[in-house]
Amino acid sequence: MNTRTGYLENVDGSCLYSLNSTKVIAAVTGPVEPKARQELPTQLALEINIRPACGVPTTREVNIQDKVRAVITPTLALYKYPRQLCQITLQLLQAGETESYFHELELVACVNSTTYALVDSGIALKGIALGTTIVITEGNKLITEPTDENLKNAKSTHVVVYMIENSKPTNLLLMDSYGDFDQNDVFKVLEQSEIKINELNKNFREYMKTKLNNL
């Protein structure tokens, strides 16, 4: 996984994120003045736009958008910014997966890059959201951070996003699974993803530490 925050000049927070062959730029602007129809009287309004690597946004991107929104909303301290707006724009540079069949890798890339960009922007967060993709192969083996090839040959695919508070995954924000699997598989996936998320969290802290030391 490779991240670089502060990548864009003219937005408040940004992050260039790449994992294997998935690549995305996240841009965060806020808190800014909302349009009248977006304004919420007591809390921060959220606008998320996802631009695909190729072509115009379709229902597929709206589906990813909605999932990202569901994951990011609980991490924000919404009531700190009444009648304000936070704009998140995600531009995919490389999907890294067969777009007509899958969206798992892009979803995780969007969630993780948004978290980095939000922290970069200085918007108040109650915790951070980090996620990972896991596939179960025909031979019942678990693969984290799969490639497009792994996805195609998988029996089932799973996206797991945790909320991290005080360096521990405390809250399961999203579990999005497709394919053929049973209860046991789900438990195995959750266990495996928790290990991965802890690792991602460690990387996140390391990144923030080096960033602060460079100031």
């Binding site: 800014v32 003045e33 700190k80 967060l125 909320m163 991290i164």
Partner: protein, 237 residues
């Protein structure tokens, strides 16, 4: 003492004694937990009155806080106040006609749309429009506030603006002063207004300040020297 904190980290506070929360800290209204909401260096100071906690972090978007010195642009004029923008796309703040030195009902300030002002934030409630003033409200003097004429504005990050304004050890302004005379107004909203006698000096100052942002202090001298050399070496025709 300062340690790195990430949003959501546990902070140890003495629940028996009063706690004052500064920037980057938040008391969650539902769980009543005190948590940092920004990634940065945690500062806890303990005094007899209580504990003060804040997170030192850098960002680009300014949210008004009482007492802040800011540089704003007039974007509108109403019957009894101006509308002032402190950063692009943020909710504007208001500057009352009565918040000027020697103000009275008949004596109106003469600012027009597009003018720059140096002011102090006097009220900042998150539910309400923030207000700024161009007068020291304790004694009614102008205290250096008011219209900023000519010059140029540099947009910088909030952390950089704060170190320029509050850190006396910060060498940038002293280094700049070795090359030219200048007037400067630093707003903690990340806007720096600078005015010199000549346009080329202004340009050199502008470029120097922009480029010194994010660089180590040892490099300042050289960056400034290069920019001044560049503007003085150009031949005027």
């Amino acid at each position: 003492m300062s340690t790195l904190v990430i949003p959501g980290d546990e902070i140890s506070v003495d629940p028996e004694r009063p706690v004052v929360l500064g920037p980057g800290m938040y008391n969650d209204p539902v769980s009543q937990r005190i948590i940092p909401v920004n990634a940065g260096l945690l500062n806890i100071s303990d005094s007899k009155k209580g504990q003060t906690i804040y997170v030192d972090y850098d960002s680009k978007r300014y949210t008004p806080a009482v007492g802040d010195l800011v540089v704003g642009v007039i974007t509108g004029a109403f019957a009894d106040s101006y509308r002032v923008s402190l950063s692009s796309f943020s909710t504007p703040v208001s500057l009352s006609y009565m918040a000027f030195p020697n103000a009275s009902k008949k004596n109106r300030p003469t600012l027009v749309i597009g003018d720059l002002v140096y002011a102090r934030v006097c009220t900042a409630e998150k539910e309400l429009e923030a207000e700024i003033e161009c007068v020291d409200s304790t004694n009614g003097s102008d205290a250096g506030f008011g219209l900023l004429e000519n010059g140029m504005v540099i947009d910088v990050t909030l952390g950089f603006a704060r170190s320029l304004l509050f850190n006396n050890e910060f060498p940038l302004l002293r280094n700049l002063a070795q090359h030219c005379k200048f007037e400067i107004a630093i707003g903690v909203n990340g806007k720096i207004w600078i005015k010199t006698d000549e346009v080329k000096e202004t340009i050199a100052c502008y470029r120097s300040i922009s480029d010194c942002q994010g660089q180590s202090q040892e490099k300042f001298q050289e960056i400034i020297k290069n920019h001044f050399a560049q503007v003085t070496n150009t031949v005027e025709e």
